[in-house]
Symmetry: C2
Subunit: 279 residues, 2 copies
């Protein structure tokens, strides 16, 4: 792929990448120390630190918050469950606003407990996003639908292709709604080039990177560092940037047996190196 | 799903389901003892038993061989690797003919070692199937492309959707070419109903059943028995039979920690029960 190495100023660290050994305060300080300009924090870490303190520290370091992880989980077995999800998602929008996040990332949820009705779950997701848009749009917080790999269809997200995310944007309107594209989830999709073009700059709200390892030993916690697997990350970056995407490249690595066990400073150094070499 | 339980005479057992504790001879005798009418054997088991002896035993019991597992693995890093795959696939066609199999199932292969060129691998698959068709068509052995779940794109099969399989049939011609549809690989696909209709009776050469467990603890060896997971197997059977499919329902369960450890007679009894209750 004949494309230059990226500007290192466009590296963002999703805090999940180093959360096993560091709290949010250490992560933010660590990223600043390594000259990393973007971060994407998780809700539980922000809540543990305190929203105001987290927001203050983000401002102090001048970080771009490339996304807030995460809203979603819309489907529920009962109206009460769905109402609880609605209220929790509204709080997530408020928190994302307080942090100045570029978008709230939506992991939309899978099948309600005991259900095999995947089409029904997808309908609940559409309705849930539509309802959340009514809250997020007037407040100016974009929602980024993250298509998750089909291996998570049952338990994490029943939006599993970029085509589905585009369909939802078509149906619900582009205003304040777009897509968080994670190479881990979409690299296999033969329809990806067409769907990235269909999404275009307007819908591409976030771009996440890591790698697919062979073998993959765990469905959730065995993601690889860019360059260690089979994904042509640079080609996928070229594809989104060909649409005009000029946002950050956010590293999100769940790796219980490897990267989560290493010293976080080493992990951040490696992210910087691999961002240059492989993204 | 308002559809009657299936005819138990249409249950087929993929020998992988009970291979951990039984050799092929025991499996064939066991299936006959339980009144099961269809089997789908794996090449290594047939070779271990001897092709002629396996074919004789199949005839003796009057089994329908619903598929032969498997050909494919087309992509190679070198011309020599691809040539070896070609020759091995031709032998697989010959063996399938000797067994009287309804089709040779193709697990098409993933990325060649060291490659990140997924589009290139897919091109090699197209070329490989095309070349094998030249051998299989005049001999009358249908090839059944099995789309594998996207989590196997790197190392097992880079045909990951029913749409891709249909595209290959369009490109290479329907004569002697079709699709083996396994609920495990395709249940998540929002495009599945449209693609099953597109395939139609002519292309639907085999229908495989098992279930997707939540959680799934291993990418390869943690498939569930029908009814134990989240797949609406009956709805999927209804969809293929609405196209006129009147073949067998083949149970293929890789389950290192559960079904492979149980007495094979118990596994076969359970397959019969769940076939009635859930398929």
């Amino acid at each position: 792929m004949n494309i230059a190495a990226p500007d290192s100023g466009r590296l963002s660290i999703n805090t999940a990448t180093v959360r096993a050994l560091w709290g949010l305060g250490e992560i933010l300080d660590g990223c600043a120390r390594h000259g990393i300009r973007g971060v994407s924090p998780w809700r539980d870490q922000v809540q543990a630190m305190g929203l105001q303190e987290a927001a203050a520290k983000v401002r102090e370091h001048g970080f771009t918050v490339t996304g807030y992880c995460r809203g979603g989980m819309f489907p529920g077995a009962t109206p009460a469950e769905r109402l609880a999800a609605r209220d929790d998602n509204r709080r997530a929008v408020d928190e994302a606003l307080a942090l100045g996040a570029r978008c709230l990332v939506l992991v939309v949820g899978g099948l309600p407990k005991g259900s095999k009705d995947l089409a029904g779950a997808r309908g609940q997701v559409r309705d849930g996003i539509g309802e959340l848009l009514d809250y997020a749009r007037p407040r100016g917080m974009p929602l980024a639908i993250e298509p998750l790999h089909p291996m998570y269809a049952a338990d994490r997200a029943c939006v599993n292709t970029t085509a589905q995310a585009n369909d939802l944007c078509d149906e619900l309107g582009d205003d304040g709604l777009g897509i968080a594209l994670d190479v881990y989830h979409v690299w296999w999709d033969p329809d990806l080039p067409a769907q990235v073009a269909r999404a275009g700059r307007k819908r591409l709200l976030a771009f996440h990177v890591c790698d697919w390892l062979v073998p993959t030993r765990d469905l959730l916690l065995d993601r690889g560092m860019m360059g260690d697997g089979v994904i042509d990350v640079r080609a996928l970056r070229a594809a989104v940037e060909a649409q005009g995407y000029d946002g950050f490249h956010e590293v999100e690595i769940f790796s219980a047996e490897d990267w989560w066990k290493r010293p976080p400073d080493e992990v951040l150094r490696t992210c910087l190196e691999r961002h240059q070499a492989c993204c």
